[in-house]
């Protein structure tokens, strides 16, 4: 049981890393990015491409892919999401849904149906482990992913709290119109936030690739895990995202213990229970309760 809890915590770190960019975009720009999973698969493919064709270690490739993904994030916000957000709350959701389909099909067309993995390009690290105590082993990549998630979430938290740019993004997140009248350019602030979110997506893409295999359509399940971790942990709280990821992984582990096919179901049941609890505890009308349940109400 101890072993399972430890492995669940490590898996939670992976979910938190997946959810980081999604949570950041949701809390700052109020956009549920349904293309999040596809974008991190895209990052995985870019890393794989550099490793396969240019023999660049995925860790070195990250130095190229991260700024590239940040550029993609900036462009998406400036040319697509900002414009679609003017059409109401639903339009950005539909836009990112469409974007996910476009990305998935482009990846499928270009890379085909074969699964890929970054594990062959990181040497022994992909299977090495530490023995914590008698009979309990932890994979090195899983530990590194958890540590990376903690570092990224902590850095983002510090960045948002302590830097002028972070305060600019927080002000824009709270009220873009008021941010504008004190000299902040809300469009620029949102584009920077999107770039940051996509920077974390690049790292999530690396984690996805070194943990296992992916194909063009792997984005959906990753989005689901990221979304559940974000909602369970509470939107807007970066540390909550880490806790949400760990709780989700624990629920999946418990589910798997109850029934061999209960792994995913355990997570989904917990997600629904938490949504229902928030719906019941929230005050106000149906619309406000729904927003509160998903973390959107102020």
């Amino acid at each position: 049981m101890t072993n399972q809890i430890i492995q669940a915590i490590l898996l939670g770190g992976y979910y938190a890393l997946l959810a980081c960019g999604l949570s950041f975009m949701f809390s700052v720009m109020k956009i549920i990015n349904l293309a999040h999973g596809s974008l991190l698969v895209l990052a995985g493919y870019l890393l794989w491409f550099l490793a396969e064709h240019y023999h660049l270690s995925p860790f070195v490739g990250l130095l190229i892919v991260t700024p590239l993904m940040m550029l993609i994030g900036w462009a998406l916000q400036a040319f697509l999401l900002e414009k679609s957000a003017r059409g109401g709350e639903l339009l950005p959701i539909l836009t990112t849904f469409g974007l996910a389909i476009v990305i998935e099909n482009l990846l499928f067309e270009h890379f085909g149906a074969n699964t890929r993995s970054l594990a062959p390009y990181i040497g022994d690290l992909s299977w090495q482990s530490w023995e914590l105590f008698s009979g309990v082993y932890v994979g090195k990549t899983s530990v590194y992913i958890l540590v990376t998630a903690i570092i990224i979430l902590g850095s983002l938290q510090l960045f948002m709290k302590k830097t002028p740019l972070g305060r600019q993004i927080r002000a824009t997140a709270h009220d873009p119109d008021t941010a504008g009248i004190v000299g902040i350019n809300p469009k620029k602030a949102s584009a920077i936030a999107a770039a940051l979110a996509m920077g974390t997506v690049a790292i999530s893409g690396l984690a996805l690739g070194v943990r296992g295999v992916f194909d063009a359509y792997s984005g959906g399940p990753q989005l689901l895990f990221a979304f559940e971790a974000t909602i369970i942990g509470g939107v807007g709280s970066l540390w909550g995202t880490l806790i949400g990821g760990i709780i989700l992984a624990l629920a999946q582990t418990i589910g798997a213990n109850i029934h061999p096919q209960g792994f995913l179901l355990g997570g989904h049941i917990l997600f629904i229970i938490i949504l229902l609890i928030r719906l019941v505890l929230a005050k106000g009308g149906v619309s406000h309760r729904m927003k509160a349940a998903f973390g959107g109400a102020k």
Binding site: P164, R167, Q168, R170, A171, H174, D175, D177, T178, A179, G180, I181, V182, G183, I184, N185, P186, K298
Partner: protein, 245 residues
């Protein structure tokens, strides 16, 4: 009353419609950067819309706005703030989740091109001038109405405005609180900051305004020396239906 202003605001033929409702109808208005102009008028006269138009909150349907002879009609609110035109809101809109200090600091950092140290100094000055030292480290959402209004003012001051647009900043305050606020605004006048102030509490407004404009149904119906405007029969009819005390 319009005339060319080399140092101030010139708004010409401003028109704004919201759907079929015409909120600003060919507004012509000018002020020097060192003037204090009060705006009065009944609810729905278009006062706040005019202020929003000057601050760049939306695009006009027609007309132009010059600031120091520079055309700012197409410029957004943040660009106008950088040029020195800043507004406060009738209903305070602090950035929740931030302290008072952070609220003001964010304005000091981006309202004007300032390095970190200068931004901190502007923040401290604005907080001091607004009398908010005692609540500087409080979360903005926990403030009472007077302090929220002060925060609106402090945040605007931190951007180093040349012209400050105040929207019913005395509304909802007690007499004593209004006196404190007027003292602060008088200090701003001494510093040479131009002010356009919308206010329903006329006796408070007249302590600062050197010129008064009265609006009704999206038009300026009187503009000039305050007592002359208040005694204008058209103003009396439109605004109060009787004499203004």
């Amino acid at each position: 009353m319009t005339h060319a202003v080399s140092n101030g605001l010139l708004a010409s033929d401003l028109v704004k419609n919201f759907g079929s409702v015409s909120v600003l109808k060919n507004i012509n208005f000018s002020m020097n950067a060192d003037e204090a102009v009060g705006i009065v008028g009944p609810n729905g006269a278009g006062k706040t819309t005019l202020l929003s138009a000057l601050a760049g909150a939306f695009q006009l349907d027609q007309g132009s706005i010059l600031l120091n002879n520079q055309d700012v009609t197409e410029k957004c609110a943040s660009a106008r703030c950088n040029l020195g035109v800043v507004r406060t809101h009738q209903i305070p809109k602090p950035f929740d989740g931030m302290t008072v200090f952070e609220n003001v600091l964010v304005a000091a950092s981006y309202g004007v091109d300032a390095d970190k140290q200068t931004a901190y100094q502007h923040t401290l000055n604005a907080i001091q001038l607004s009398g908010m030292e005692h609540v500087a480290n409080r979360q903005a959402e926990s403030l009472g109405l007077l302090d929220r209004k002060r925060l609106e003012l402090a945040r605007a001051l931190a951007t180093q405005p040349k012209i400050l647009l105040l929207d019913e900043i005395a509304g909802g305050l007690t007499e004593a609180e209004s006196v404190q606020l007027v003292d602060t605004i008088k200090e701003l006048r001494r510093q040479g900051i131009g002010i356009i102030w919308i206010e329903h509490i006329v006796h408070v407004l007249l302590q600062v305004a050197e010129r008064l404009i009265c609006m009704d149904s999206g038009e300026i119906i009187a503009d000039g020396e305050p007592q002359a405007v208040l005694s204008n029969p058209q103003v009396v009819k439109a605004y109060l239906g009787g004499g203004i005390e």
